[in-house]
Symmetry: C2
Subunit: 487 residues, 2 copies
Amino acid sequence: MDLNWNVIFRVTGALFIVIGISMLPAMIVSVIYNEPNIIEAFIKTIIPSIFFGSLLMLFNRQKEDRTKVRDGYIIVALCWVIASCIASVPFIISGEIANPINAFFETCSGFSTTGASILTDIEAMSKGLLFWRSFTHWLGGMGILIFAIALLPSLGISGQAIAKAEAPGPTLDKLKPKLSDTAKMLYLLYLFFTVTETILLMFGGLSLFDSLIHTFGTVGTGGFSSYSDSIAHFDSAYVDIIISIFMILSGINFNLYFIIIRQKLKGFFKDAELRLYLSIIGISTLFIGVYLYAAGIINDIGTSFRYSLFQTATIITTTGYATANFDLWPTFCKMLLLILMFVGACSCSTGGGIKVIRLSIILKLIKRGISLKLHPNAFVSLKMNNKPLPVDTVSAIASFVFLYIITIFASTILISLNGFGLMTSFSAVVACLGNIGPGFDLVGPVMNYSIFSNGSKLLLSFLMLAGRLELFTIFLLLTPRFWNPNR
Amino acid sequence: MDLNWNVIFRVTGALFIVIGISMLPAMIVSVIYNEPNIIEAFIKTIIPSIFFGSLLMLFNRQKEDRTKVRDGYIIVALCWVIASCIASVPFIISGEIANPINAFFETCSGFSTTGASILTDIEAMSKGLLFWRSFTHWLGGMGILIFAIALLPSLGISGQAIAKAEAPGPTLDKLKPKLSDTAKMLYLLYLFFTVTETILLMFGGLSLFDSLIHTFGTVGTGGFSSYSDSIAHFDSAYVDIIISIFMILSGINFNLYFIIIRQKLKGFFKDAELRLYLSIIGISTLFIGVYLYAAGIINDIGTSFRYSLFQTATIITTTGYATANFDLWPTFCKMLLLILMFVGACSCSTGGGIKVIRLSIILKLIKRGISLKLHPNAFVSLKMNNKPLPVDTVSAIASFVFLYIITIFASTILISLNGFGLMTSFSAVVACLGNIGPGFDLVGPVMNYSIFSNGSKLLLSFLMLAGRLELFTIFLLLTPRFWNPNR
């Protein structure tokens, strides 16, 4: 086994530094709100983290041009786990989340942009830690390591190996010849969305703090709020609509925005994945909106559509904010939302789930399967955006979706050992693996994950990271062949 | 559109005759139990059915050697619907199931070997109609048309086109050069199982009537019982074990039994699908048995394993008999059973579901997907029983499973319009499409399907037939290209 430990340690070192630096804004929030206990907790995390990271980088300075695929997977998996560990330290030190497993669950949920929480009293938390908790969404949304590469381009690693393992969805266009340039462009666009939404939310009457918290949760498609009743707290149609729009925008393939920047608006709307994504949102909003009104649950058609658009957007983009307790909605609406939990957002967005592009290819696969019964010798390639897809790409997508489904079934068996009902166990797994947050029943939108045993919380944390890293990155490390390639 | 109407009408005619003749044993039961009203209902169905069938055959005598693939699909789909319609007539005429949609649901459930019932008071039914209801399981298990071909070999159709559309599972070995000979061999073996189980059940103290009813339900993996508390009615360990064994035997690929007959016992146990099937049964029985005992639900370890073996066997073979109300079991056990509902039995058995062979190939597909991430250029063929699988076979299996899952999601949305809970709606669809019978919650093992609207009953009937005919046969007929090939 010849792993490139030099590169692995150097990148890990960089990560320690980056996470340490990333805590500074949250510490400033604590300074503003005068929370000495929290400031101390931050300082006790930031200084050792930067110090240790610098040491790691110092002792592994030698440049290596080639990172092997195997190294890329180890780096990504390792860094996401380490990042979640470091991020949980201030929660533990300050005593606001004393149980380390709870704190780890919360930060895994943050970085993976899941938004599932074990907090039973959010309003009792300090502002600094609430800010940090939401900021992990922002960092995780576009990728922690892509962020590190954007900040520290001279890490001396082949970024493509990292991007392969970390980027969400089956494709990542090379926008620029150097990955660090692509990373910078992505983060600039991300920053643009962040600033715009923050300003728009402030126009809606939110404080700067609340605007930032909920913007991080939106653009990262995370879902952490500073209120236990989530977005329903503001009870404002304006806020609902702004957040709905930005959730939907954040669920779109970010590469497509560069097509707009290059002034090709036609090309933007020609993208097959985007069209299917918008169609699903439209249909789901329509059906839920009409049903809620017709069933007499909401008496005003406008309000009905406001709620249906918001819940559709929050679930398909895997954000997980709530303006209504959809667990109390009729089965028809719940079933539509459950399906959206599986569908997920577009590839190369900040959202999770199976992703619309894979659904689109699966539908084509089914169509071909049916016509093959009639014409057994007419086996043709599937096409996406008028380009034929290689057989191994289609096979990889099919195997991803099957692994996704089997992971859900197997994990639900383990979670069911807690003794809760089938819907609770099943939807907790679906909501964590899909990076959504709320599920149904005991993990519904007004509930939380504190009910589970420590073992289950670790399993759910694992699922959140596995879902965010698109399964293979994590499952690869669990195969014996990965560690012993000559077997 | 050049369909071979001559052949289609001739086979349909044969079907009318065969179904008519098949009612004779049930009518004899009515004679024995002195049910004049039921005898009349049978006569009023049998005579017109045979008369009309003979007319159809008479006017379409011209022999055609070649049946096209397209004709095969139409014949199979049409005949299963017509068979269910004819079979429902005695129920309607006698008034024992006055609502035609309920009667159609019951016979679809019978032929498709589902075992889901709308009857709220089984014990109030006449013996003749109970016998007929269970006999449809026996006819449907091995295939209504394969039965017709075995009885009337000179139909002048290419049986292979029929077998392709009707046989369960992706493969059907050509045991004999002529399909009518293969069909006869299959039915001889089927008859052997039927006679053996009937005798063994009579040793257990059951009447001939009860033995036959429950044998039909077992070997056809159907699940209709003459008692509302199903097999629990007998409360006998001996009966439970005999039925468990015969359910498991009926869930095995029938082609494998011919290997035993040719005295190659080694070859029998080398079959990859059989090994996986038996392993799943073993693991599930062990886990459920230990859990029920450890959780204190059953106080005796022997009884615990008796129940866990029976429920495992009844669900994986998609029979649907019950010795315990598993809907009251802990979530862990329910989740295991839910997974078995998806797995199903072996290919070319009388059971339904996705089938073990497909699960096996999906697991191989996932394994290859993971290793492809590490070695992107090492795309190798998947193997089954040491033989490489063609790419289009693997693709067809993947597309089948995806279609299966999407059908479940889409149908659950429609069923949820009834207003029942998610578990009820979801498990009703899974239990009907998988030809199982009981689900969870309001369609649990001690409940029935009478709660649903007429529209939902028709949808569930459609799902039962679609599941029995392995989806494609039915879905193919819904595509415009099937009816207009030049499009």
